[in-house]
């Protein structure tokens, strides 16, 4: 992962390819509680539909208000012990719901989905399946401004080192096929593409979808780049207009969706790649909401002061504050870094070396951008330095000689601009 000796060669970061010898996932037991993070501020608590003390069943939809739209699925049955505000990324106001789980023998599943969805429909998928592992998102199909013409199923990873989605392709292509059939049926869209790394092309053939190969060089499996490179022909031929409307689903989500409609049971265990301090890579299967500490325990991993725990991945993930942090439907990877492995950052100005510019996959003039961002000229950054073209791959920061937290600046800037826009339209 280091800069090559011959520095004029561009750095090449490659995605991990799942090994033939990859061990089966370890099943993680929840010790006592799960925690669900709802994407709504806790102020809605006044009209909250659930309250502390309520009993919930496994697979039950958890939301703050009936019409809140967003919900999570409780992966276990148990009693709600706590509903508190939670600050997410960029100070996003969310709600954390803690549930003390019933013992394994007393687990009761919620039957609403089974009863209300005898036949698969887009509406029931949106109503019950958005909290599935892999976090399928059906909202693009309900957006009147969009006309989805193609679906891409991602059998590739979002970040380096992960093998989560590949595992589903490699070991469960049958359930992917089922999921794709369901997707075709409920959306009426027949152009489904399964994007996989080279080494899984053979297996992927059995999915019944069009198979496209994605390069192993980071960040080729970024959805924007997949559309650009893989669907380029179709876009040219006019099947997809530009800006094309494409919906994305992870392989895990598709597999879970297929199983849900087929069996009436909601799969609620999240598969994730766990990277321990020594770089050892294992797969874990944990109920959504499982606190990090249970996973650490399952893998016998000890964490000390000043270590770093990352949800997501080494390039784009999020460092967490606490070992109570729960597994979320889209947590594909958890990575533990010993404090000695943490690269130091520095507080030096940009020296205009241009490494970032040459590495950026979408040609953002990062050297100009960084100057504007450091001066907090966010609007200028958008109008003059292509801020909004950035696909947030983190490569610029990975190579920055001055070790400027460029990526952090970019996210903060985008967030600030969004907030300003929202305030304007409210005013």
């Amino acid at each position: 992962m280091k800069r090559s000796f011959f520095g004029f060669i561009k750095p090449r970061l490659t995605y991990e390819a799942i090994a033939d010898t990859q061990a089966e996932p370890a099943y993680v037991q929840v010790s006592e509680k799960i925690r669900l993070l709802l994407d709504q501020p806790a102020e809605h608590a006044a009209e909250i539909v659930l309250s502390v003390g309520d009993h919930v069943k496994s697979g039950q939809r958890i939301q703050t208000a009936d019409d809140a739209g967003e919900y999570e699925l409780s992966s276990k049955s148990g009693n709600i012990t706590d509903i508190v505000p939670y600050l997410g990324m960029m100070q996003k106001r969310m709600t954390a719901v803690t549930i003390a789980v019933d013992p394994e023998s007393a687990q009761t599943p919620d039957e609403t989905f089974k009863q209300e969805s005898p036949a698969p429909t887009l509406e029931s998928a949106a109503r019950f399946l958005q909290g599935l592992p892999g976090k399928p998102d059906f909202s693009p199909f309900f957006d009147p401004g969009k006309l989805i013409k193609a679906i891409v199923v991602l059998g590739v990873e979002r970040d380096l080192m992960a093998v989560t989605n590949q595992y589903f392709i490699k070991t469960g292509i049958e359930s992917i096929k089922t999921g794709i059939d369901v997707l075709r049926k409920i959306t009426g869209i027949h152009n489904v593409v399964l994007a996989v790394p080279e080494h899984l092309v053979q297996v992927a053939g059995a999915s019944g979808a069009g198979v496209k190969t994605v390069d192993s060089e980071y960040p080729a499996s970024h959805p924007q780049l997949i559309v650009r490179h893989i669907l380029a022909d179709e876009m040219k031929s006019g099947d997809l207009s530009a800006p094309a409307d494409v919906a994305f689903f992870s392989a895990e989500a598709v597999s879970a969706m297929g199983a849900a409609f087929n069996t009436g049971q909601l799969p609620l265990n999240k598969l994730l790649t766990f990277i321990s301090k020594d770089g050892n890579k294992r797969l874990a299967c944990a109920p959504i909401g499982t606190p990090l500490k249970d996973i650490l325990e399952a893998f016998n991993e000890t964490v000390q002061d000043a270590d770093r725990i990352i949800f997501g991945g080494p390039m784009t993930g999020t460092a967490v504050y606490s070992i109570d942090e729960p597994v979320q439907p889209d947590t594909d990877m958890i990575m533990i870094q010993d404090r000695s492995q943490i690269p130091e950052s520095a507080d030096i100005a940009c020296i205009n070396c241009g490494e970032c510019v040459r590495v950026c996959p979408v040609n953002v003039p990062v050297n100009i951008l960084v100057r504007l961002l450091e001066a907090e000229k966010y609007e200028a950054a958008a109008s003059e330095a292509e801020l909004d073209a950035c696909i947030e791959c983190g490569l610029c920061t990975y190579v920055c000689e001055s070790r400027i937290p460029i990526f952090q600046h970019i996210k903060l800037a985008k967030h600030t601009l969004e907030r300003m826009k929202a305030e304007e339209s409210n005013a």
């Binding site: 924007q224 559309v227 690269p343 979408v362 937290p405």
Partner: protein, 322 residues
């Protein structure tokens, strides 16, 4: 429940390729030694004192400015030492001490620190200083006069002066091999072509300087000099001569490639380098100065912000997905 320990929390990415400014600067500094050591061997103690004085005063100016502007101490990044070294390399070994000190003042204070330090400077700091000194005390940089007390076993006249005054016939005695091996008078670290080339190739391979700029600079010199020579072989020396004399190679590897004052995009780098080479020969052949590198670099530094606007089209988002 309070945490039993505190985790480190910071922003993605959580990896780095390991590069840092100081590693780059120390590598460049090491590469310059290949050209500086021959200078020390030929010019002895005088050269050594110019080099050490230049490097040390550059670092002192940096410290002083860090202190005055209340910015973090930056001599650890090696840039001040490198700038002092590059400045010294251009000087004749006989340069008086006070010229060196004034020079490093211009290099560090006027060339770099008043723009907010490394990265803000629009010109190569050492080149800026050199230009100021050449305009103010040009006499000290007349290599013929400056080095008159040395005994050489080769023609002790600065080759660029010869060709300027007497036409290309006067320099026929210099073979390319002699010039490459440093059998010519010149600045402490700029006369030994071989040392410069080896250092330069090393830095290009390691990616510490950008090959695009160095190569196009050299190409610019070769092509322009060739055209002049072709048009009037009597007056203008050949391409090889221009490349191997004066500050040409030094400029190609160590001056044109300075990060802050040069472009970062591919095509601009090529234009920038080629323009530098072209201007160098142009100034030498029809301008007032014997060597054109210093002013050529300043001029391309000026054009940098403009040239670097030519950049690849940003790939806009083609889809909006949730």
């Amino acid at each position: 429940m309070p945490e039993p320990f505190k985790l480190t929390v910071s922003h993605a990415p959580f990896r780095h390729n390991g590069s840092r400014i100081s590693i780059k600067n120390y590598n460049i500094l090491a590469a310059t030694l290949l050209a500086v050591i021959p200078g020390l061997l030929v010019y002895g103690g005088a050269a050594l004192s110019v080099v050490t004085l230049s490097v040390s005063t550059a670092m002192i100016w940096e410290l002083v400015m860090n202190y005055l502007t209340r910015r973090p101490y930056s001599i650890g990044d090696g840039n001040a030492a490198l700038m002092g070294m590059l400045f010294a390399m251009m000087l004749p070994a006989t340069t008086p001490w006070w010229v060196v000190v004034v020079g490093t003042f211009f290099t560090i204070v006027i060339g770099k620190q008043i723009y907010g330090g490394l990265g803000g400077n629009p010109f190569h700091p050492a080149v800026l200083a050199m230009a100021v000194l050449m305009l103010s005390w040009g006499g000290y940089f007349d290599f013929n006069a400056a080095l008159v007390d040395y005994q050489f076993d080769f023609n002790p006249v600065y080759p660029l002066v010869l060709v300027k005054s007497f036409g290309s016939g006067a320099v026929e005695g210099f073979s390319a091999i002699d010039l490459l091996l440093g059998r010519q008078v010149g600045g402490i670290g700029t006369f030994c072509g071989l040392g410069l080339v080896i250092g330069g190739v090393y830095l290009m391979l390691r990616g510490y300087i950008r090959w695009e700029i160095s190569c196009s600079f050299i190409a610019g010199i070769l092509v322009t000099a060739f055209l002049f020579h072709h048009a009037n072989p009597e007056a203008y020396a050949g391409a090889g001569f221009h490349l191997l004399t004066g500050y040409s190679l030094f400029g190609a590897f160590y001056l044109a490639t300075e990060d802050s004052s040069s472009p970062v995009n591919f095509i601009p780098m090529l234009i920038y380098g080629a323009l530098g080479g072209f201007l160098t020969v142009l100034i030498r052949n029809i301008g007032a100065y014997v060597d054109g590198v210093v002013f050529a670099i300043l001029l391309i530094n000026l054009t940098n912000p403009l040239i670097d606007k030519i950049r690849p089209k940003t790939l806009r988002k083609v889809i909006n997905y949730a």
